[in-house]
Every structure is written in C-alpha cells, then in structure tokens.
C-alpha cells in the first residue's frame, strides 16, 4: 500500500490533500458529499477580527478553465468562528484544522491570530497577506518584503502554533517575499493566492464582477503556481503548501515535485464537490503507476537532477 502521509513541520497529515480556504466554507456543509475525515486537513474560510459582508454581487465570473471571485472576505468574525463554526465542523470532522486569517492592519492580524492560537481545535495558522479583493486587504502586506516580514514577526511573537504565510502571486519576485517571511520567523508558506484578473462582458463592455478586477483561480493558473512553488522551495527550504489549479492526482504529484509538502485544492471544489475525495482515491493508483512508494519522498524532486 503506497504511503500517502506527509509532514508540515511537526504536523503529520495522513495525506497531502487540503481543501483551500474560501472554497469549502467552514467545512460542515460539505459533509453531505463525503466523509470529511478522509481529508489531510481543512483550511477554513478566511476570517477577520470583525464580521464582514464582503463585496456587492456579482462576485463571480467564469473564464477558460477557471473563475474570478471577489467575495471580499465575507465571514462572521473570529469570535463567531471559534464559538459556532468550528464546533459545528468538529461534529463531522476530526482531523487537522487550518485557520485562515486576514486583516487590514498589523494589530488585527495579531489579535485574530492570537485568538485562533488559543483555540484547541486549530492546528495551524495560515496568514493571508494576499487577498486581492478588499482595499488595504492584505495584498499590500504580501507585495512588499519588509511589510511581509513585519506581519510574520508580529504574528509569530503572539502565537505558539505553526505560522504559515499565504503569498500573493501578483509580484515581481515571489522568492524575495518568501525570504522576508522566513526572516520574520514563518514556519512555512502557502502559495499561490489568486492572480488578479478581469472578465469583461463583450455584450455590455463592462466588467462582470462588481469590483472590476478580481481573484482568478482554477486549472488555468496552475503553471504559475507550480513555477512559484518551485522558486520558493529553492529560495527558502521552508515547508510549502502548494495551491493553484490543482484538480487531479497528477496535479498533486506535480505540485509536490516542485516542492510542496502538502497541497490545497481550491476552485475545483466549487465545480466538483467530490474533488478532494476523488484525488485522494486516485493518488495510490498514480503512485503505483509512477513507482512512487511514499509521497513524502517526492517533495522537491524536480530540483534534483
């Protein structure tokens, strides 16, 4: 039996497949589709200190092999997440939980992260410094190395749990941002968040999504994600959670070969709610076909000649 287990630092996952933040709600609504305990971990919907409605609709546009979204961090706020959402998830899911944290100021990041840090049901903190859909909404922190280092440092000081910084691909030099996070003490990195894209309706000549530009994800962006995971793995050596366009077991193997220790599945959950389960079921067959005994062996193998 092929070994699917992987490690994120000291955290062991039974397999590398994690539904990405924002594509799986707070998890419990997905229990109607399959047994969530199959998953390697779950990354929760992005959470801020206070409740947010997010952006006006339309928030969604379709494009070739992907979609744009401009949800704008709709969430009930960290207190409600800890009091209501996580307990509801725990009724149907018993594996590792990743809290995804956004903020509009350094102090907000720290306060929200500290609350999750104190929540025994949370295993890992994913700090989103890359949300493209809200003004001053994190992406500024993710496009300047110095700002990225500062957020990382401040959150690390306030938290005991592993801190993973989620990076924006909308930058000239992803390795520089990643290295800055490493300097700030990050335990790992998650990449990529969405590319900034736009879809215009040729009929009306107007952007489809209310915000104009919006976050672009789906299989279309995978080559950019794989390239950045490859660069960041080489530049930092930190554990990387690879995300961006993963839809099949082959995609998981590709992303891990580039340097990812685990993989998040995002957009694909929206069009195929069984995507993660199917990938987990397909992985052993692909491993056998390619002669891979343990998935953890292939992390970063694209760097080895």
């Amino acid at each position: 039996m092929p070994d699917l287990s992987v490690r994120l630092g000291t955290l062991e996952l039974k397999n590398p497949v994690i539904p990405a933040s924002g594509t799986f709600g707070f998890g419990y609504e997905m229990a109607r589709f399959y047994d969530l305990d199959l998953l390697g971990a779950i990354s929760l919907k992005g959470t801020t200190l206070h409740e947010r409605y997010g952006n006006p609709t339309p928030r969604i546009a379709e494009c070739r092999e992907g979609l744009l979204n401009a949800i704008g961090l709709q969430n009930p706020g960290v207190h409600a997440v800890i009091e209501h959402e996580i307990p509801r998830l725990r009724q149907v899911y018993h594996g590792p939980v990743i809290a995804n944290i956004s903020g509009f100021a350094l102090e907000e990041y720290v306060e929200t992260a500290a609350l999750f840090d104190a929540c025994p049901d949370v295993d890992l903190l994913e700090i989103n410094i890359s949300c493209p859909n809200v003004k001053h909404g994190g992406m500024a922190f993710g496009t300047q190395p110095e700002a990225a280092r500062e957020v990382t440092e401040a959150v690390k000081r306030a938290c005991k749990k592993p801190v993973y910084m989620k990076l924006s691909p909308n930058v000239t030099d992803i390795a520089a941002i990643a290295c800055a996070c490493k300097e700030g003490g990050a335990d790992g990195l998650v990449l990529i968040n969405t590319l900034l894209g736009m879809v215009i309706d040729p009929r009306t000549g107007r952007p489809v999504v209310s915000t104009g530009a919006a976050g672009f994800s789906g299989p279309a962006v995978k080559p950019v994600a794989v390239r950045m995971v490859y660069q960041v793995y080489a530049a930092t050596g930190l554990p990387v959670i690879g995300v961006g366009g993963v839809a099949t077991a082959d995609d998981v193997i590709e992303m891990m070969s580039a340097g990812a220790s685990a993989v998040q599945v995002g957009a694909q959950n929206l069009v195929d709610p069984w995507a993660c389960r199917n990938i987990i079921e397909e992985l052993p067959h692909k491993m056998q076909k390619y002669g891979i005994e343990a998935l953890s062996d292939i992390v970063g193998r694209a760097h080895r000649a």
């Binding site: 924002g22 799986f24 609504e29 997905m30 928030r59 969604i60 979204n69 069009v271 709610p273």
Partner: protein, 246 residues
C-alpha cells in the same frame, strides 16, 4: 451521502424564442419542493449552469432554460440520448404551507416562469386556486400558457409590447388582482416591483454562483435576517426578510 448524478436527455427542444425544454431521465427523488435547482456541468465550461426545476414526475426531470450565452447555446445543441452531469438537491424551494387556503397569485417573468409551474402543480393538486401572471418580452417569447391552464390556473399573460395578452409589466396586472399570498420568480426589477405591492409572499432570486451549494459565498445577499447565500439559504426568500436597498 450525495453522489454525482448522470441524467440522460429524453428531449431538448425549442419551446419559444431561444427557450428550450430539457427532459431528463434520472433520479428525481431528491426533490423536496418546487423551486429547487440543479447545477449542470458542460464540456469545456469551468462553472456549472444553475437551472431551476420546472417539473418532475417519477424519474423524469423537466427543466426550461434560455440560451443567453455560449454555455446554454452549447446545451441547446445536445441531443436525446446524451448524458448530463448534474448536481442535485440544491436550493430551498418554495414552501407551499403558508399559502394554504389563501388567495394565491404566482408572478413570473421570462425564465422565472418555469419553477412556478412545478409550484402551480403542487398547489393545484392540494386543491388551492391559483392565479398566474406570466410576463414575457413579446409574443415569440411566451411559453407554458396552456400548461398552466391545464392545471386549472387562471392565467394572465403580459408582454412588454402587448403582442400577447396585456401590454406592460407583470405588476400592472398583478395589482388589479385580488390575492393575499404570492410567489414570484423573475428578473430583479420585477421582484422589486412585486415586493413593493406589499402583500405577503415568497420571492425566488437569481445570482451568479460559484458552486451552488454554499461553499464559496459567491451569491450572498443582505436580508433583514442576515446574510443569505442565494444557493442554499435561497433561492427563495420570504417577503418579510427581503431587502432591495442593500
């Protein structure tokens, strides 16, 4: 737990201008209420297309859709015998209970008409008397007038240009009717106008969706009872909770 469902096309034929009726063979046992919807995967399209259920009977689902873009255009070229991958069990649907024994009006506009047909059937079978106001752009766009009549409904057709039935808006006819509970489905301006007439009722909304099952928050709207995802908390909202100002 829910499984991926494949349906076989029995019929996919034009019903009116750019409007098609799709009859599908497959599980219809999941339907709890009229006004629920399915989300259809199409080859080469990343997102699924949400289409409301018009009617169901045994293991046959009837959907009515309008060709509005390349996805529905592609769907319209599919032939009987071909398979469709549907996500099912979506949406809350209309709740017929609060209307029981009341004077019921159904107000539909364009492709908002189909889910009202399944509702009209449920209401008729329950012995309710139903008046339907169905609005279309023009004579060529009208469909299901006779089908509603066959259920025993009092049917009023309204068209923008008066080429069939009354000329004007759905609400022009609706406000002349004597009703005390309504169900409405149609474009946002129609829903707003129906809601503004002030009676009690239920309104079914449309919104661009990412998933259709509550995961992405792509279709959230503000209501007096909080944020609601049109796909799982809706598409049907109560007149008392709807906000058109938000």
């Amino acid at each position: 737990m829910e499984q991926r469902s494949l349906y076989t096309i029995l019929e996919n034929a034009p019903l009116a201008q750019d409007v098609f009726r799709l009859r599908l063979l497959g599980d219809a046992g999941w339907i709890k209420r009229p006004g629920q919807f399915v989300n259809i995967a199409l080859a080469g399209k990343y997102l699924r297309r949400p289409i409301s259920v018009c009617d169901w009977d045994g293991d046959v689902l009837t959907l009515i859709y309008k060709v509005v873009g390349s996805g529905t255009e592609q769907m319209s070229r599919m032939a009987p015998g071909e398979k469709l991958d549907l996500l099912t069990g979506l949406g809350n649907g209309f709740d017929a209970a609060p209307a029981r024994g009341k004077k019921i009006a159904l107000a539909g506009g364009g492709v908002g008409v189909p889910p009202l047909y399944g509702l009209a059937r449920v209401l008729s079978r329950a012995g309710e008397s139903v008046c339907c106001v169905l609005g279309f752009r023009s004579h060529a766009d009208v469909f299901y007038e006779h089908e509603f009549r066959a259920l025993g409904c009092d049917v009023r057709i309204v068209t923008d240009d008066g080429s069939c039935g009354a000329k004007g808006f759905v609400t022009d006819v609706l406000k002349s009717l004597d009703y005390d509970y309504y169900f409405a489905c149609g474009p946002q301006p129609m829903l707003r106008a129906v809601h503004a007439l002030g009676k009690e009722g239920q309104l079914s909304f449309e919104e661009r969706m990412g998933c259709g099952f509550g995961a992405c928050m792509g279709c959230t709207c503000k209501t007096l009872t909080g944020y609601k995802r049109i796909c799982v908390d809706g598409p049907v909202l109560l007149s008392g909770e709807v906000r058109f100002d938000a």
